[in-house]
Amino acid sequence: MSVLETPRLFFRGRITWDPIVTNNRPQQYDENEGKTVFDSDDGVVAFRKDAIAAVTGPGNWNPHGTHRSTFYETFTVGVDTGGGLSTSDAIVKSPVSFTGMLVDLEPYGAFSSQLFFDDMSFGIQGGCRVFAPRVTRMTGRYINFARNTTYKYVAGVASVVWQTSFPKTSGLRIDPHDSSLLQKFAEQLEHDDVLGLTVRWNTYRTLYFDSLNPANNTALAQQLHDKLVGGGFQPNPARSELVGVLGLWRKGEPATEPGDRALLTRQPGHMASAHVRVSKHQLTLDLANSVPETGVDLAKLNLGDLNAVAVAPDGATVVARLGSLKYADYCREKYEASAGIVTIEVDWGEAEKAKTADIQIRQKDDTVLLAEAALRAVPTAPNIYLDEGETTTLSVLVLDRGKPTGSGVQVAMANPDTSSGASTTSLTNAEGIATFSLSGTKGQVESFVFAAGQGAAVPQGINPQTTTYVYVRTLPADADIAGLEPSWTTVYGKVLRNWHAMAPCMDNWLDLGNPDQVKSFAAMLHELTAKANFEAFRFMPVTRDMTTGERALLYAFLDGTGALEPVVEAPPQVSLQRLSRAMRGGAR
């Protein structure tokens, strides 16, 4: 199933991360209200000044972020059409293009990252190419905070699994020419069971200030601060390595996170959770997110020989020996060549036993690194936005050893942040899907965790390595704002000022504080802020937090003929609150 079956395409490269972080802290942003927090009598100028001042502390490493995340130096590096890794296919060495907007659904948190994008391509137009228009945004899951512990700076320690899928019915185009791999993709897409293609990639070794040594970052932050004080546009993108794979997306597989058999970590410092597929004669293990690097040189931790076994329900007794991996199978060179996917041959009889037994990955001394969780309840929409008063139905796909269960499996859903911890339950239908109703009752960010199976314990919180979860952000209605007189003063003060302060990236082309410009580009602003374009790369605001009331007021202004009186802001004043926060060094 999925990218763990063949045919598949491997790619490797780098990506930049350029988010703003001025909405990461409650002192600067109210994530429930979706509003920038201004001190009582200062405004955008003071907010920006404060954001820049925070660069030299631990508070804000990128006040001029654009949110853009762009692949660079990223190319296809190999294919597997069933006979193992090959680098001679015509698609190999083709550029892979992707640009998305990195937005955390929960601005304060680290578990709900997503990339809004329009399309992705492997190869170029006119050549061997897969062109994949977006249907579902890219989602980050299985965050591994033990991946690179030698780089302790913001998210430098972490790696992330990113995934989305491209339905064959929504503009997915394959131009095979002389590529055997693409010819096989095209053939497979003819089958009813194949829905399209899934792309999964892993980002790791994230560097800040483009520095291999985080000890240098204090000095580099000072340099950035000085540049910001000197004016201009001064983004400070972080950057990561990435490896990825493109493969088939079959019916019954979740679009936005792995749905193969889940091997959950037992030793997070040594090996993070992974996914596995066992066929008649092969075991294919996705270790893209799992084995830590020992330093910024990207050498992999040597865990010695690893044994794949299947065990009895007691979790200890081995019932099948599936094979072994040597360090050479998961070392850096192998990892980069095949995106961390390792395939070993398996005896047919042993594979049969593993069909109904939990798989484990063990070290030579039988230390269990990974152990299978047979039942997984995976939300089909991992990050959900609602407007206040809106209701939606969440579908949760229950997988039993990587395949949808039948009907009647109980799924429990709970919000771990509520004091009661009470859960609601639902039963799966014949396709293995349980549904839950979600209502946006007020402006807030909520998370829900899942447990599948009768009496299964619902997790007490989110551990992204082991928990399946969904985030829901409800934007307040802001009916009071909708009812305001649509003058420039109100539309700026109640709507545009939020992003003018928080995200200067949004005025790269448009000065949100300039009524003439805003009015001149009314038609474009309408289009960019329309709810219908919410998933688009260029949607505004990038942070996806414009409320219905704010949108109504903005449109009333754009469509009206109100006078464009200039905005007079109070001069910046020293804020004791902000000064105090700066002295504390702020919080990330």
Binding site: R14, T16, H64, T70, Y72, E73, F75, K93, S94, P95, G123, I124, Q125, G126, G127, C128, H177, D178, F209, D210, Q223, D226, K227, G230, G231, G232, F233, Q234, P235, N236, P237, R239, N508, W509, L510, D511, Q517, S520, M524
Partner: protein, 340 residues
């Protein structure tokens, strides 16, 4: 045909002189490409815009890399704003005068002339013939760069300055701009410049696997996609690219030669805003390559301002109400600070 003046390079100063010419040459390609790009109406010509924009970005990168080489040789590069219409810097033996033209076949033919490969364009068959190729013969700057490369290879390591005023990709253009600290870096930069502009000898693709500049413009010119094909040359002009020659603002050519005194004040003000932003861009870039690396961010800001000013200028009618003007790319220091 465009020939660049090939001088014997006997000293580092000779090389720097040629590199200065290279910087001027790369710079001079930007306004005509940007003029065509800006002239495209929103919501139209996405594929054409993408190709022109990608080339313009790479020309900016080439200019930065050439500046890095000059700096690595111990000299501050000097940026000189080009004028239009006018010849390409260093061009001899050609009657090519470069104009600022809105997106059109003429604009693309001009761009193809500027970018034509060293050994001439590879002539691919038109599998679905839409039009006959314009039989144009233009020369290249490829030999010029190889000439430079040959000399730079002879310099001892001690002749190179490490870390002198170098622009890098820390903030912009990730993976594209890199410091030049010696010949290896300079050679890599020159290879990239030639490859991206011209492709390789037998292929329209550059070393990065993308279509070289000449062919990107040719795709727009022919309104066809250069496509892999089972023929002796490996490629053919095939599917429609989707160019809408009418999806373009009615912009006049060469606004720098236009007398705006008879146009409405709004048109004059729009031109002033464009010129002010362009002038600021040049000034900030000059500071950035002369040791104030942080000013690159100010140059980018000015570039955003120029784009915005251009968008506005292209919607303001001239005295002839069916005409508008894009940015004239005039360097006018007196405007900086005087125009909002």
């Amino acid at each position: 045909m465009i020939y660049l003046e090939f001088k014997a390079i006997e000293t580092v100063d000779d090389a720097i002189e040629l590199l200065q010419m290279a910087i001027a040459l790369e710079f001079s390609t930007l306004p005509p490409y940007l003029y065509a790009l800006y002239s495209i109406r929103p919501g139209t010509n996405a594929e054409a815009a993408s190709r022109i924009k990608s080339v313009a970005m790479q020309e900016m990168i080439h200019m930065c890399l050439a500046c890095n080489i000059v700096n690595a040789l111990g000299t501050n590069p000097v940026l000189t704003a080009p004028t239009y219409p006018g010849p390409l810097p260093g061009g001899i033996g050609t009657d090519l005068t470069v104009h600022l033209l809105p997106l059109s076949k003429d604009a693309m033919a001009q761009a193809m002339a500027i970018e034509e490969p060293e050994d001439g364009a590879i002539h691919f068959p038109h599998e679905e013939s839409l039009l006959a190729a314009a039989a144009q013969e233009f020369m290249t700057i490829g030999q010029f760069y190889h000439h430079l490369d040959g000399f730079l290879a002879t310099l001892p390591a001690s002749r190179w300055s490490r870390g002198r005023n170098q622009l890098d990709d820390r903030q912009f253009l990730a993976g594209k701009v890199f410091a030049v600290n010696g010949f290896t870096d300079a050679h890599r930069a020159i290879d990239g410049i030639v490859s991206e502009g011209e492709g390789t000898r037998d292929s329209p693709l550059d070393f990065g696997g993308d279509v070289a500049h000449y062919y990107r413009f040719a795709e727009v010119f022919y309104d066809q996609v250069l496509t892999k094909a089972d023929n002796s040359k490996g490629y053919a002009w095939k599917d429609k690219l989707g160019v809408d020659w009418n999806g373009v603002y009615p912009a006049i050519a060469d606004p720098g030669s236009h007398d705006f005194s008879k146009d409405p004040p709004t048109a004059r003000a729009a031109q002033d805003r464009c010129d002010a932003a362009f002038t600021r861009l040049v000034q900030e870039l000059q500071r950035a390559v002369a040791g104030e690396g942080g000013r690159l961010g100010n140059a980018v800001r000015a570039m955003f301002d120029l784009r915005m000013a251009a968008k506005q200028a292209l919607t303001v009618s001239l005295a002839v109400p069916t005409q508008v003007a894009g940015p004239s790319f005039r360097y006018r220091p007196s405007l900086v600070g005087a125009v909002q």
